[in-house]
Symmetry: D2
Subunit: 153 residues, 4 copies
């Protein structure tokens, strides 16, 4: 789907917001692609991100899925708005085993208040083969930039 | 609800599995309580776990909710089984602002193959007041200890 | 949890809205209890509501869970607002076998725009024993009474 | 995605199971397409399926989404298995206004025990224009044909 951003400066604004998330630094996540309504994030594997069998931890997968959808939605906001996650649902399809994780999110529906996104997560092996390892469906709410209140306000 | 563990040594086995998750070390998570079918995890706040407004990141909340439910389910498994997350859904209710997060999970239904858990997450302020900031509903699948395969096998 | 209704006439308004749903007539659903932030619905079993094994169909369970949460949320709205379902997630715990289904919903968080509810569904046998057969977690959005637009506006 | 059915007689078996659901008769649902791993269902609008504003009721949408996914999964089962819904999550994107509803489901991952499906729901107007009004993500479990037990067993 093709979306028209309401803020021509969406890319800089979106990337700055992403860089402001301490937890994304902790995970080593990078925003590898951003177009209006679409966002791709990547994380390289380290033991610090593993579960007990040496795969990417489900919490890492969930974080990447949630944040990729959040910034796909954020890219369509007017310049005086930010957003928060209302809820998301994640299905794990395969063990996330590989050198890196890629989450690709797209906006399914962008309303004035709520935006719904889908995020598909792939585990990329050393030979660049990709396994579709998880998918998420998420809802985000647009809020005022000075928002400090409830995520379900 | 009162559950009877199938493995009398469930506590040691559950805690050992939790300690084997590199990502839980990264988050600084601790297992503060464990009884059959119930699990409580805690994480102290650091900037490394924050989103852009200085609250606990949604991905941290999701991780804690998922893992607390996973070990509530794990505590009821026979000694020759482990489990994997099939899926979970998280609703964020309030900004998770505070000195620490506590996730309290309980088993709603324990079947032979699948277990369903609910996990409630609280943000604890410096004065020990608690805010109910998120809730999750999750499904886990029991698998063989040597399991290396699909999470939806 | 104790909630204070914003509209003293909430009960009549809530029950009238429920009676306006043709599909609830089709299911034979009744609103058996309503207090601020809480709603209980019931449906008696008929073959017209069954799946292929003669149990209540998952779609009936989902409908009852969704609507009970919707009216638990509706009961707390001001008189000039109505609401729509944003999303819900349902876990089926046991086959829903019995003479009737009861869904009990409670508001977990009531914001200005969004309300989050939990709904537990019980299958009631002829001897009045209850089996906890499903649970749902749902989000509702308050909208203007004249609302005809997007559910994620 | 292309799937190979494990039972060459999958189509007849799948359609017979669908016809055995009393609730699908009540809704007037028809299976308009079936190929291995894909299923499309349709329902025509009547007031008996409406919510209070005259649109298709969310419970009808949920039922169609769940069942379309269930039979997409069912089509890939061996002949001696059936399946049950473990859980599903539905996001409502737009009011479901129109002459009929179409739900198109596809299998995302087919494991030995669990199958994960996505179902997209469209409201079709009198002029055949389609509005993408809902999407669901669901998990199904394969069980023995004689299964009468827990949906999360």
């Amino acid at each position: 789907m093709i979306f028209t951003p309401r803020d021509p400066g969406f890319e800089q604004r979106t990337r700055e917001s992403f860089l402001g998330q301490g937890f994304m630094h902790t995970l080593g996540a990078e925003m590898s692609k951003l177009t209006p309504g679409h966002c791709e994030l990547e994380i390289g594997f380290t033991d610090a991100l593993a579960q007990q069998h040496g795969f990417f931890h489900g919490g890492v997968i969930a974080s990447l899925a949630d944040v990729s959808g959040g910034y796909a939605a954020f890219s369509l906001l007017p310049a005086d708005r930010t957003n928060v996650t209302v809820e998301f649902k994640l299905n794990l399809l395969l063990p996330a085993q590989g050198a890196k994780l890629i989450a690709t999110a797209t906006v399914l529906r962008c309303g004035r208040t709520l935006t719904v996104c889908r995020s598909d997560v792939f585990a990329v092996a050393g030979d660049d083969s990709q396994a579709f390892c998880a998918t998420a469906l998420a809802t985000y709410m647009a809020v005022d930039l000075r928002y400090q209140g409830s995520e379900v306000k």
